[in-house]
């Protein structure tokens, strides 16, 4: 199994969830995040003094999948988030050796979905 982590733009969230659903990926966890990367920050002005803001608002997705869903998931995230502009985000894929469904105690591939 794999654990897919993705950082995406805040305003792509609704769209990427739609695309994931269409790809039959119904399980996702979402967290707010702040990120700095290739995307330049901006500078704000507060009471006359300038302030560099390098941490931009991002959304973090975490999706546990079975191995055969890996490409599908990555494609769905790309489809949902790719605009070609700097800041589109990153996908990180980790090995997931174990997964447990709390409700039933099921483990492994059956517990993912």
């Amino acid at each position: 199994m794999k654990l897919v982590i993705a950082y995406i733009q805040e305003d792509r969230l609704d769209h990427v969830l739609d695309v994931l659903t269409k790809a039959e990926l119904h399980r996702v966890s979402v967290t707010n995040a702040l990120g700095c990367g290739a995307q330049l920050g901006y500078s704000e002005s507060y009471r006359g003094a300038r302030k560099r803001v390098n941490l931009l608002k991002k959304i973090r997705l975490e999706i546990a999948i079975n191995d055969d869903f890996e490409e599908r998931t990555i494609d769905a995230i790309k489809e949902g988030c790719q605009t070609g502009k700097i800041g589109d985000g990153k996908i990180f894929v980790l090995e997931l050796p174990r997964c447990v469904r709390i409700r039933t105690g099921e483990e492994g591939p059956e517990a993912i979905g």
Binding site: D14, S43, E44
Partner: protein
């Protein structure tokens, strides 16, 4: 706060224009008449009303930010705060003079008494307004009203209009369109002559603002993401506490809006007006709550708030001429109407984040017509004329202004700016720094 003035009593009573307070002049004041004392009481009441109308601007601000997203909050607050300033200054500059040109300058449709404020010779005396208030009070009370009309527009066009364009629009709308229409009725113009009754401005203030709001949302179009494919995707407001605070303050301020429109502290009049105002608001809350509970299956707080405002706008035209019983009916109907109107506008894909058109235009019309129904001796046709004339003037003017701005400096922020939020793009500032908020 110089406390040892012995001339205070006499001076106050004599009601002289003590701009450069001259004890000498006041000292000669003769015996204090009851009319002079009444003048003092009336004028104090009118100023109290003025303060209450002022605080409505905080009410509008809170309601608007409460019902919109946190990423546009600084922008809305800035707009609303500036409007009060712009409203007062332009009203001092030309508005007051356009709206109340006075007998010497008034036409039936237009009049202008000149730039700036100049207190007439009798401006501080009983003569000025039959002992109701002074010239300065008059200006300030009216000036607070003026800004209201512009603020109404603000809520409807929120979350997508360019700041600069909005400020230009508001300035023109509040300094020209509002006083011109106002003059038709309150400046003793043709509508007044036609027997049109609009006590505190269901039409003259609220519908005027409402027409501007309608023009705005038509020209601007809906917020991104509101109508997707065939569905309506509601965009929840970010702070129900702020929205509720706003509605409470608006109700509070309305006691001044309507109570002050009596233009004196006449006990029978002001107390009746405050009662009809309160009962209509209360009935509006109930009407809207029940309707929304019925339609939406669960009671929607934002609809209850809109219901109060609907009742208040509805009673504004006739608060002085309907019975408390009638005010309950007017308010309750307004409450039902506002819920239906909010839902209907959404169906028509007219995106009004705070329900400004439904509250101020739709219920403003209802309230004005209701005077023809419940107001003794009031003429339904005259009421209809007033409603129609206001619409026929304000909507095209607002529409033309909006189109003009769109064609020149642009009316709407870019898609990217809208997605990021106007706080970022227009102000480079966060409304709730540090708070973790997901704002899709």
């Amino acid at each position: 706060m110089y406390k040892y003035a012995t001339w205070l009593l006499a001076a106050a009573a004599a009601g002289y224009a003590l701009v450069s307070s001259s004890p000498a002049a006041a000292a000669e004041a003769e015996a204090l008449t009851t009319e002079q004392v009444l003048f003092v009481a009336n004028n104090a009441w009118m100023l109290l009303a003025t303060f209450l109308v002022f605080i409505m601007h905080l009410g509008f601000s809170a309601l608007e930010i409460g019902l919109t997203r946190s990423k546009n909050t600084v922008n809305i607050l800035f707009k609303n705060f500036l409007i009060v300033a712009i409203g007062l200054l332009t009203y001092a500059g030309i508005g007051f003079s356009l709206m109340y040109p006075g007998e010497d300058f008034a036409g039936q449709f237009f009049g202008f008494a000149g730039l700036g404020l100049t207190a007439p010779a009798n401006g501080m005396t009983l003569e000025y307004a039959s002992g109701g208030y002074t010239y300065w009070t008059d200006f300030l009370f009216q000036g607070m009203f003026a800004a209201t009309a512009a603020t109404i527009v603000s809520g409807a066009v929120a979350e997508r209009i360019k700041l600069s364009s909005f400020l230009v629009f508001s300035t023109l709308f509040v300094s020209l369109a509002y006083p011109i229409v106002g003059m038709w009725k309150w400046g003793a113009g043709w509508l007044d002559a036609a027997g049109f009754h609009d006590f505190a401005g269901s039409t003259i203030v609220h519908s005027v603002g409402g027409w501007g709001a309608l023009a705005g949302i038509i020209v601007l179009g809906p917020r991104i993401g509101k109508y997707v494919d065939e569905t309506i995707r509601p965009i929840p407001g970010h702070s129900m506490p702020m929205a509720t605070l706003g509605a409470f303050l608006l109700w509070f301020g309305w006691f001044g809006f309507n109570g002050g429109s009596v233009l004196s502290a006449s006990p029978a009049d002001i107390s009746l007006v405050c009662v009809t105002t309160s009962l209509a608001a209360a009935a509006g809350v109930m009407g809207a709550s029940v309707t929304s509970w019925f339609i939406q299956k669960q009671p929607d707080l934002s609809m209850a708030l809109n219901g109060a405002l609907a009742g208040l706008v509805g009673i504004t035209a006739g608060a002085d001429v309907v019975s408390p019983g009638a005010s309950v009916i007017i308010g309750a109907i307004a409450g039902v109407v506002v819920v239906c109107s909010v839902i209907g506008l959404d169906k028509a894909r007219l995106d009004d984040p705070v329900g400004a058109v439904s509250v101020h235009l739709v219920c403003g019309i209802w309230g004005t017509l209701a005077v023809g129904i419940f107001g003794e001796g009031k003429d339904f046709i005259a009421q209809l004329t007033g409603v129609a004339a206001t619409g026929a003037f304000c909507f095209p003017v607002a529409y033309a202004l909006m189109r003009g701005l769109k064609a020149t400096i642009g009316l709407r922020v870019s898609e990217e700016e809208e997605r990021q939020g106007l706080d970022h793009s227009e102000h480079g500032m966060e409304s709730y720094a540090g708070f973790q908020i997901i704002n899709p």
